[in-house]
Each structure stands twice: as structure tokens, then as C-alpha cells.
């Protein structure tokens, strides 16, 4: 079969690879119908999460059709149209039982790297390097999904592939970000990053009761759909002082909750950004925490900072003093896909969330390299490239 493989830092290629096979009782094989690029793939492609091996198949946000099931699979059958959570979860450990699926104890068979780096190993993630288990990803014609009954969910008829694909990662990540904020109604929520996850976090905050949502980015092609589709307010950090603008918009209080949906390769303007970029390029820090710093500085006293952008290692100049003295609540984590997906599919079917507009670049799998190029370089107004192997 054909698959999009990592070939070295910054290099991708579509290659012939063997087809996956059922390896355990709970496995299913999914014929991929739509597989989206994700901002967090860029950290892998560019070598900031240094656990890729040449030939690894990328892709973790996808949907498709079940074509084979292991003998232990009960809930799914061949022919089901399913969306699969990016995070692999066994369903049987304490973390899974308490719905903290991205912390699953048993789904990363290669835990040594992350145990050394982070103290403990979180769950495995499909197509997400050898730090996350070394699973083969979804930018391929077929993909093996372990613990199929736990991780794959039949999708409602009538919702198009290019919408439902985002229930795999962008929607649950955005939802969890808003969930972290503990909204009770009427709050002001600021969202850093107007990409797929940021847009979904903004929508989730609205549905969870936020009074006002403000999206911060520098790209008009991200700010415009946020304003038009979701009806949120926007701040363009390229021509506005973000902290000043947020203070002004909230009459001095600052947002009640700040969601960071950017991650370790965040952009900014000015000398501080140049300094971070230089340090990261020289590998003196692994992550650029620009937007986290800003979120902490902007957040009102006693507010919540919710981080769902991906970070891998160490950051420099973290404003711990601001967080401590303002008594902020910091919440963060990889999303617990399996907890949120069924609820999100209901909301998709009911039309409460419509992420279809994120798929600005529907492409074939063979065009995968270009898909990542326009996505990374933010060309042609690209929000997300979605690959279609079939």
C-alpha cells in the first residue's frame, strides 16, 4: 500500500509499504478515508521531538471504514464507518477506568524514552514517533488500530468525512481545553492560536457558556473564519499589543480563562521571539513558550490557563512568579479522546459544531508532501490539508 513516510528532518515522501495485519485479539484494520495533517506533526517532521526513525508512517487524525476485526472485537463490525481517537488506550487500567485515556498505562510499548524525559510514560499515540510507542500512522491506505473497541467510534450517517475526521483530534483537544476552564457561564475566554484546535476550542468555549471568546493569531485567513463562522472577537498580534488589547477589552480585568492552542513552535514578533528562536535552533531549549508566557501574563488574577498546544521538553523564561502571585490555575495535557468523542459526534450530528471549513485543502495521499508544505508555510490560506488515500 502507499503511505506518507518521514525520511529525515524536514523530509517526507510517499512510498510503498507493507499492509498492516491483525496482531492481537482487540485489533481492527481501518481503510483510511480521510487523514488530516496536524500542527503537532510539524514538531516531529522538524525534529523537535527527536524520536522519529526513517521510514515511519505519519498521521494520527483520521476516519475510515473497518475492513477487518480481531477475534476479541465486540462493539464494531466490518463495514462500520468510524472515527479513531489519536490516543491509544487499553480501556482496562486505572487511568482508562477514570477516563484519563491519554495517560493509559499499557498502550506505550516503548516507555523508556518518556520515562527518562518526563518521569512517567503517558499513552501511546498513533503515528507519533517512537517516544509515543512507535505505532504506524494513518497517512496510509490502511492502519492497524489496537484496542479497536476502545478507540474507534461509529459515526452518524450524513456527516461528511471531511468534518468527522476532526472528531479524531482537533475537536476533542479543543473541547478538553475549554473543559479545563471550568466555565460556569458568561466568562471571557481568550484563545491563542487560530488553527484547527484553536477554532474548535473557541467553539467549545461558546457551547460551554463563555460570554465572550477572543481568538489571537496573526494570519487573516485564520482570524476571518473565526470571526465569520464562530462569531468570536479577534486580535491580530502582528499589529496589536496583545496584553494591552486584552486588558482594554476586559476593562482592566484580563480574560477569566486563557487557552493556549499553539505549542512549541509558536511565533511572535520582536526581539524576545528572535532570542527564543535562536536558542531553539541551537537546541539550547527544546520548546518556544512564547504564547504560554503571554497567556499567563494576560490571565486575570485567580484565572485559569489551559494548555493544549504540544510541548516536549524544557522551556526558558517561564513566568512562574506571575502564575504564583496571581494564584492562577494551570491545566494542561494531551486530550482524552475516548472521553469526548461520543458526545462530540452527537453535537456534530446535531449541527452544533461544524468543523468542515477547516479542511481547506482536500488532497490525495500522493499529494501528501505538498499538503504539509502549504500547511507549514501557511500558503494558499491553508487551515488543514486532509489526505484521501482512496
Amino acid at each position: 500500500m502507499r503511505a506518507l513516510c518521514w525520511e529525515g528532518v524536514g523530509k517526507l515522501a510517499v512510498r510503498d509499504v507493507p499492509e498492516p495485519r491483525i496482531r492481537a485479539e482487540g485489533d481492527i484494520i481501518v481503510k483510511v478515508r480521510a487523514s488530516s495533517v496536524c500542527g503537532s506533526d510539524l514538531h516531529l517532521i522538524n525534529g523537535y521531538l527527536p524520536a522519529m526513525r526513517e521510514g515511519d508512517v505519519l498521521g494520527h487524525e483520521f476516519m475510515g471504514e473497518v475492513v477487518e476485526t480481531g477475534p476479541g472485537v465486540r462493539r464494531l463490525k466490518v463495514g462500520d464507518r468510524v472515527v479513531v481517537g489519536s490516543v491509544v488506550a487499553c480501556g482496562g487500567c486505572w487511568y482508562c477506568r477514570t477516563e484519563q485515556y491519554s495517560l493509559c498505562d499499557n498502550s506505550n510499548p516503548q516507555p523508556v524514552f518518556t520515562e527518562k524525559l518526563w518521569g512517567h510514560s503517558p499513552a501511546g499515540i498513533l503515528g507519533y514517533s517512537h517516544a509515543a510507542g512507535g505505532y504506524s500512522g494513518s497517512h496510509a491506505e490502511y492502519v492497524r488500530v489496537p484496542f479497536g473497541d476502545v478507540g474507534a467510534f461509529p459515526v452518524p450517517d450524513g456527516v461528511p468525512d471531511d468534518s468527522v475526521v476532526f472528531a479524531s483530534d482537533a475537536m476533542p483537544t479543543g473541547w478538553m481545553a475549554a473543559d479545563f476552564c471550568g466555565l460556569t457561564g458568561g466568562e471571557v475566554v481568550a484563545v491563542w492560536g487560530g488553527g484547527g484546535v484553536g477554532q474548535m476550542a473557541a467553539r467549545a468555549a461558546q457551547l460551554l457558556g463563555a460570554g465572550r471568546v477572543i481568538v489571537i493569531d496573526r494570519l487573516p485567513e485564520r482570524l476571518a473564519p473565526a470571526a465569520d463562522r464562530l462569531g468570536v472577537e479577534t486580535v491580530n498580534y502582528a499589529d496589536t499589543d496583545v496584553l494591552e488589547a486584552l486588558r482594554e477589552m476586559t476593562a482592566g480585568r484580563g480574560p477569566d480563562a486563557c487557552i493556549e492552542a499553539v505549542g512549541m513552535e509558536s511565533h511572535d514578533v520582536g526581539p524576545a521571539y528572535a532570542y527564543d528562536k535562536a536558542k531553539q535552533t541551537a537546541r539550547l531549549q527544546s520548546d518556544r513558550p512564547t504564547s504560554v508566557r503571554q497567556a499567563i501574563m494576560a490571565c486575570r488574577k485567580g484565572g485559569t490557563v489551559s494548555i493544549v498546544g504540544v510541548y516536549g521538553g524544557l522551556v526558558d523564561k517561564f513566568p512562574l512568579g506571575a502564575a504564583m502571585n496571581k494564584a492562577l490555575v494551570l491545566r494542561m495535557g494531551q486530550m482524552h479522546a475516548q472521553r469526548y468523542i461520543p458526545m462530540l459526534l452527537d453535537r456534530l450530528a446535531a449541527g452544533e459544531i461544524d468543523p468542515g471549513y477547516l479542511a481547506t485543502h482536500p488532497l490525495s495521499l500522493e499529494q501528501g508532501v505538498r499538503g504539509y508544505e502549504v500547511f507549514e508555510k501557511k500558503q494558499e490560506g491553508c487551515l488543514r490539508s486532509v489526505l484521501h488515500p482512496a
Binding site: E7, G92, N106, S107, Q110, F113, H130, G134, Y135
Partner: protein
Amino acid sequence: MTSNGTRWVLLGAGALTAVGVGRTVARRRRRHQPERQDGWYVVRRGITVDRPVDEVIGFWTDRERLDRALAEWATLEQLADNRWRCVARDPAGGGTEWCAEIQVAGPGRLTWRVTDGPAQHGTVELVPAPQDRGTEIRAELRYRSGRLRRAFGLAAGDEPDLGLRDTLRRVKSLIEAGQVIDTRRDPSGRSPAQEAATDRVREKLTTGGRA
């Protein structure tokens, strides 16, 4: 030109740094050495399984399920009411094999001794975990090894402690998830030589770690 004085200062500073680094490394190494008792190395490792003690014991007494779970890497043979023989293979397929005799020493407690292989014995104890968190499997392993052999073993990755931690993790996964996940042979665009190199990396990332 650097003056003689500067040279002496640099040399002194260099020597002090070297001594400091050496002492730190030595202290670190000592902290990571297993305890020694009567000529045995002793290591203790524990893992928490999210099942009550009865269910953990039940897993070992359900023969059919156990055989299916262990199929790839070990066979169990019951010798007497409370004695078992276990033959385990290296899951990576290295061809190493060892036999152990397991004896039930009381409720939630068993002892084992390697009968054919390196000198090792130990105990396993099942303790209820606090806050309804299941069962703590607490294992103690005693093994003999010379300092040199241990150093080489560590470098080669066949340190008994690493094996113990692997085994505990596998047991936990078998009881909780019904399988031990394996991503080797997942599809990739690698040549056979690249795949073999990647398998070695996978092995390093799989072996040991925190129990």
C-alpha cells in the same frame, strides 16, 4: 602570550573540575548500585495493577487465559499443588531460555528460584493498594554476579533488574489489558537493514525503564 601564572590557575581550575565531576559521577553510580547482601545483589521493584488481590490471583489460576496470555514468551507447568515450573523465552527471540520453580508460600505470596540458568531467586508479594487502586505487586530479586560481569551485562541490556521490570510491566498489561502491545513489524517505509536498526532502538526503548 599567556603568562605562567595564568597557566597555573587554569591547570588548577581544570584539576579541581575533574575531581569534582569524578566524585559526582562516582556518587551517582553508587546511588544506582543495587544493594548487596551475603554475596547477592538484591533489587526490589513494584508495580500497581488496577485489580483487587483476588482477581490478580485469579488471573494466575485461570489456566486457559494464562496460557493464551503467555503463549509467546513462557510456558507454565504445574508440578504439585503449590509448585509450578516456568520456562521463559527471550521475547525478542534471542533464543535464551530459563527455567524456574515457583512455590506458593502463603496467601498472596510466592517464592521462585531459577533451576536451569543463572543463579537467581526471589519473592513476589501481593499487597492491596491504598485508595482502591488495586494491588501492588512487590517483587524482590536476588542474583549473583561479579562486578565486571554486571557492568558488561548492563551494557548488553541483560541486567536481571531490567528483566524484572519488564516482566512486571508485562504482567500488569496482561491482567489489565489482556495483551502486551507490540508495534514491531508495523508498516514502515524502511529497508530490511533500517528495520533491523530500528528494532534495536525499539528494544532499548522497551527494556527496563520504571517498573
